[in-house]
Symmetry: D4
Subunit: 230 residues, 8 copies
Amino acid sequence: MSAPDESIPSMPTPDIIMDFGRLQRCGIEEAVFCEFKRSEQIEHILSLAKEKQHRLLLTRLTPEKFVQLSESWIRQLEYNPTAHCAVFGDNVSLAAPTRIGIISGGSSDASVCEEIKTTLNFHGIGCDLHQDIGVAGLWRLQERLPVLRHYAIIIAVAGMEAALPTVISGLVNAPIIAVPTSVGYGIASGGHVALNACLASCAGGVMTMNIDNGYGAAVAAIRIYKQIVG
Amino acid sequence: MSAPDESIPSMPTPDIIMDFGRLQRCGIEEAVFCEFKRSEQIEHILSLAKEKQHRLLLTRLTPEKFVQLSESWIRQLEYNPTAHCAVFGDNVSLAAPTRIGIISGGSSDASVCEEIKTTLNFHGIGCDLHQDIGVAGLWRLQERLPVLRHYAIIIAVAGMEAALPTVISGLVNAPIIAVPTSVGYGIASGGHVALNACLASCAGGVMTMNIDNGYGAAVAAIRIYKQIVG
Amino acid sequence: MSAPDESIPSMPTPDIIMDFGRLQRCGIEEAVFCEFKRSEQIEHILSLAKEKQHRLLLTRLTPEKFVQLSESWIRQLEYNPTAHCAVFGDNVSLAAPTRIGIISGGSSDASVCEEIKTTLNFHGIGCDLHQDIGVAGLWRLQERLPVLRHYAIIIAVAGMEAALPTVISGLVNAPIIAVPTSVGYGIASGGHVALNACLASCAGGVMTMNIDNGYGAAVAAIRIYKQIVG
Amino acid sequence: MSAPDESIPSMPTPDIIMDFGRLQRCGIEEAVFCEFKRSEQIEHILSLAKEKQHRLLLTRLTPEKFVQLSESWIRQLEYNPTAHCAVFGDNVSLAAPTRIGIISGGSSDASVCEEIKTTLNFHGIGCDLHQDIGVAGLWRLQERLPVLRHYAIIIAVAGMEAALPTVISGLVNAPIIAVPTSVGYGIASGGHVALNACLASCAGGVMTMNIDNGYGAAVAAIRIYKQIVG
Amino acid sequence: MSAPDESIPSMPTPDIIMDFGRLQRCGIEEAVFCEFKRSEQIEHILSLAKEKQHRLLLTRLTPEKFVQLSESWIRQLEYNPTAHCAVFGDNVSLAAPTRIGIISGGSSDASVCEEIKTTLNFHGIGCDLHQDIGVAGLWRLQERLPVLRHYAIIIAVAGMEAALPTVISGLVNAPIIAVPTSVGYGIASGGHVALNACLASCAGGVMTMNIDNGYGAAVAAIRIYKQIVG
Amino acid sequence: MSAPDESIPSMPTPDIIMDFGRLQRCGIEEAVFCEFKRSEQIEHILSLAKEKQHRLLLTRLTPEKFVQLSESWIRQLEYNPTAHCAVFGDNVSLAAPTRIGIISGGSSDASVCEEIKTTLNFHGIGCDLHQDIGVAGLWRLQERLPVLRHYAIIIAVAGMEAALPTVISGLVNAPIIAVPTSVGYGIASGGHVALNACLASCAGGVMTMNIDNGYGAAVAAIRIYKQIVG
Amino acid sequence: MSAPDESIPSMPTPDIIMDFGRLQRCGIEEAVFCEFKRSEQIEHILSLAKEKQHRLLLTRLTPEKFVQLSESWIRQLEYNPTAHCAVFGDNVSLAAPTRIGIISGGSSDASVCEEIKTTLNFHGIGCDLHQDIGVAGLWRLQERLPVLRHYAIIIAVAGMEAALPTVISGLVNAPIIAVPTSVGYGIASGGHVALNACLASCAGGVMTMNIDNGYGAAVAAIRIYKQIVG
Amino acid sequence: MSAPDESIPSMPTPDIIMDFGRLQRCGIEEAVFCEFKRSEQIEHILSLAKEKQHRLLLTRLTPEKFVQLSESWIRQLEYNPTAHCAVFGDNVSLAAPTRIGIISGGSSDASVCEEIKTTLNFHGIGCDLHQDIGVAGLWRLQERLPVLRHYAIIIAVAGMEAALPTVISGLVNAPIIAVPTSVGYGIASGGHVALNACLASCAGGVMTMNIDNGYGAAVAAIRIYKQIVG
């Protein structure tokens, strides 16, 4: 939907219940999924966070929607245009050493990889990115194997036929979180083939997220990470 | 397919490559998925395991198929008819304390729950079962919450509309592995609605397995467990 | 389709049969579904209503399409931009007490909630809105339970995995009308997962409407309401 | 799955939580969905009900499965082979007058109609059946209209292209609960076309149940009925 | 795709084989389906027709695409903006009496109805339009029945749940050609529910076209018509 | 479902409304679709027909179901085991000349072809069968073309990728009724690919029936035939 | 469908057109797809072949159906029960050297592999089988690479998530024909995930066959082979 | 996505691994699939190619995206706007004689045909195009048959119901690579019907590519071609 022009009636902001207590209850910070929200709703939520002095992660905030926010809010946000994420509030330092590796099949998957990284970093957790190492050119994956074998958690991001999670699962011991992406065309359009291939993996123990759900993969990894590091 | 009658020509056993080195490489024991294998193939694999003195887990072995095995093999297997699993070789003692909880929506999901438990136990890992606590009667889940909050990993098994993983995910900190089951009819027939509901969960971090994939959920849990306990 | 520019030939308005006798026959006022109608068709229908001195409810009238109507019509309509609804004619007073409660999973479902409210109010029936109380944060729903238990009819609006109708159905006695919404992405894109989860609900008696069909849910509630209040 | 032969190992009965308090909480009696349960599970549940002196409704109990129950249980059940339902415990008398009408498209839908009737009667609520009045022969429906217009609730059962709920909805004021059935072949196989046609109905206010979900339709009707009769 | 701007390289016109001999072979005039063709391709085809002095019917030519044609061609075409059709060449007079009736469920189906009418008229065959007589308000259809019973062929156009072809088929003797339309939302989005309902019709002998295929329905009717009138 | 054994409780026959007046109203004789009916229901219908001295066509009556009828009824029926059809009552002589041609892609489509033929013959209308002339061996179709061009109506029966209706439609003038069949495997399993290929045909005017709906194709042909022969 | 019992009426054999000239026209021998044919039809075809002294390949002939053929025909056929294929007529010697390699993901794919081999051998063309080398255990594939790189054509057979064709395609130069199999469960049931993964392969040039279509893969390979060897 | 306006933050280019060694390993030049890449990514890749002095094929580069590249790059690329392809680097001369024929069903398939041709030519391999010879007008195909029978490889491109690959496969000996296209509407929208019809082809040996995958078809043809010409 294009930006509403001036003559369109302004809409009242419906009541929104922010869950700023979630960190205490679940160990996960409050995040706002912006895809189905209008600018006014996002700005209203930011006001609430500012008032309560809470940090906030905004996901699925496209560059087009970001620039529609008021100048004042744009200045107060740290925006990652590849990740389609913005952070309100201070950055936190990352715990060492890095225990999470993110691998991806192609450079078109970059947006999902960055959403995962931004979400992890927002929670003070570091990660390494290994992009564009899909199995159609197996040597790219094999070169990285010695490094990949050291991670405690691996998040495998892939579109098209998404063979990457299956192949990596047979090569390492770590838990594998698969994130199928919507990169694909024809029969693979929208990411459903990638999703199904992850679910059907003959390699034992691949765990799958919804298509393009980088945020969810990061939260899943954080839950595991917190059990590991205590 | 009913059992082939005597006059049907017997089939030669194709070459099978057993991966008895998997334990060393991946930390997971060799298992045999029996659903698409004939009795002769299963017996051939058992012979190989016996010869190499390897333990073996047989999954998706229905009671009907189990009783078609030769008397000799039936005697050497420990069979769990609800789990549709059989174990060849000695049991191993379970590590304490129990860190994994399995919860299920209804008593019709018992087969998948037992497959998970059998697989975990085969690897020397204990677990608790909390069955029939689906969200249509929320009090059943709420009663168990104090216990559920102590597990390091929760595996949530549910058919029909599979709301259980979403609800539990908002109530505990542990990583949640969702296993949709094929329990359902009409639009929910085959378990696709349950699968999709798990993937679409608005609760952050639910990780999903293929429909009825109890074995895979157990392997995923083992990978996480080994990172936690070192 | 973008607005046709001036040089595009104007189209003759096809014959339209307005059913202004429906109130007598079915107890439901005439409403106009605007999504597949052009501005000229909508204005033509308004003229007919004005001529016959009939009230009219316009649904699925986006802000973009609303502002394309002629200035004269815009002034004569009461427009709710969140509901995408406009009312032509006088408001009617609402019957007391309020017997219908509308609950929704997230603030992104606001448009459907408002369409339901507008339709009910147009027929002189009041309702309460309880938004953003989805089951991923169960405490939000539980806080409202004492109030929710007093309604004669509950309309539950939810997207994503739509667990809300199932959970509420186990907690109250009232009939539950579920309205799945198109809020979702990946596998949940378009609202099909929400729809199927409502239909597959293991909680007895959930009745389901088409995706985003707030108007239909209101009409169903009116039919029930009229049986209750006589 | 055919009945297990004698040599198949017997399975332990998993823990089952009966919800005999549901009548107090929700106004609906406990019912047991038998489709995915084995004979032993059903007999175990019956024992619990007998012990607690509770009435019980068994649904989706096919004649094949019914005759596999022990002779003793068969004698204690009142079985309706068309409805695939059995009642344990005393019948209750039906409240007058009859307020619920069930209509169906064809004689092949009889099983679903009878499941609805059995469920309503089990709760002490009467209903009338008007079967085989599908819209391909519209005169059959029109003949019944004077009667149909007197019901407070109408449940419309139809397979194939399921036009019946749409047509009846335009002819009466009562709330319409649509139950699509799995009667159909080719593109209509399994009842998905019937389901979708009910959901897509252009007639306002049709409420839809899952395919063949006669039990759910009856529970929905009971919830409405209790609001009407107080 | 928006109109290419000036700086986009122009594309060579690929070889196109016009089938101007089709009238002799099949009794159907040459028509051009414009939806997947660029303006240059359409103009090239018009040039070929002009050169050969052949009449031409252009279908699926949206107002947006029509105004992109050169001024010269626009002047030589008779354009019907509702039908999205244009005619090149002289009109032919219509044979009497009218033997074909077109009925539609709602005014949103007007575009398909007009495509059918334009195609029939282009071949010198008349027809009557009866729009907005869907079965949710059955009285509208019943009023027209005496007229509808006189047609030799009926084309029934309907979106949403498309019950119209089923109902009319039980009321008249003529062959029924059903044209499902893409008018619908949610589960009915794109017209698939309408299509499937036509195919699954329990009324004997309904023949179905692809979604929105008004042109094809007209050609089918012409084939039948020519057999009837000799 | 296998035949119920003796100990299964017998079911009461629900009320069935036979439409013996259909011949007068629609020109089509009463037929009984047996697929979803039990033996008792079929025998009950036969009794009604015998009582009223009406002819009856039984379709979708498999050999397995046919032999379950009582000896007495089996003797009174003329059964075509390939067509899965039985006729009760006298045969009628066929009108000359033959105006309808049935063509099929492969010998596996024989059942549908025979259902069409039996239905036409039951109504006193003759037809010719041209089987096994699919387009993968185009010479088979081309050899028959001179004959095929003389029919007033062609019914094209095909499974798999169902290219036959498209190819024949470009070679003759007659109306084409396409009947996709369930002959196919893998992606073509159940006949959905054949159905969709018929609907998507780029050849103008192909009219499509539901999968395996030979009866419906015959009824459609009869409606056209009656318009042609007056 | 179980074997028809004796009392079921025998069915006349419809006309079958055998294409014994296909070898001359297309280089491919006549083959008979038995899945949808009854025993009588198969025996009739064998009689025709014997009469014309033609060799014949029977595919999709299950052991259950094979033993239903008359004793006389069983003796004259060479049957491969894993391949579900039978050969009528003399074997031909295989051309050297072997240019075609068949690889498969798991031992459950053996039936499809053997169908390919039988078809190739029937045409006098040899091949090597490398089974059970799926990518979940990548070392199995890598061990075979030096051999696999020498084939002129590789046929890759895989079920589940079917990553094998993608991985092999990046490692060799030969054309790759992918055959997805129906081995899979849950979301992968029926082989659709495997099919889609092959089609969506990000590795350039993978060519895909229908699910389980071993015969078709062999014919495709023969067409390529004949171009290579002249 | 429309072109980002000036005020949108620029995005850093993620690491891209170009596989310039692929020609040596697989015989296929490096190509870049541009559909999911932004202008900056494409320009970055071009810079790498220029630096390494490598030729490069850009596919799925729409005219809209092409003109967004910087003037400097536009001048250095040879762009084919119908094929949506651009070539960086020198052309190579084509090997004689031409062994590959491309045939297509309609002129709307031109884009895919040109992508195939551009890819083949980029690798120094010639081909002939025979467009608009679909089977609805069979004479067009038959006229070309004498020429088509001389190709060593045929690539058949078709949308809608895609009967062309099936028909051509029965008329020539060469291997057939089918490329379904997204040309179609209603049920055929997106090309899925065309895809499935190719896969389900009853003609032996048709090999299928993903929808619109002209590049992949060319690579498959090159792999076969290199085996033929050595």
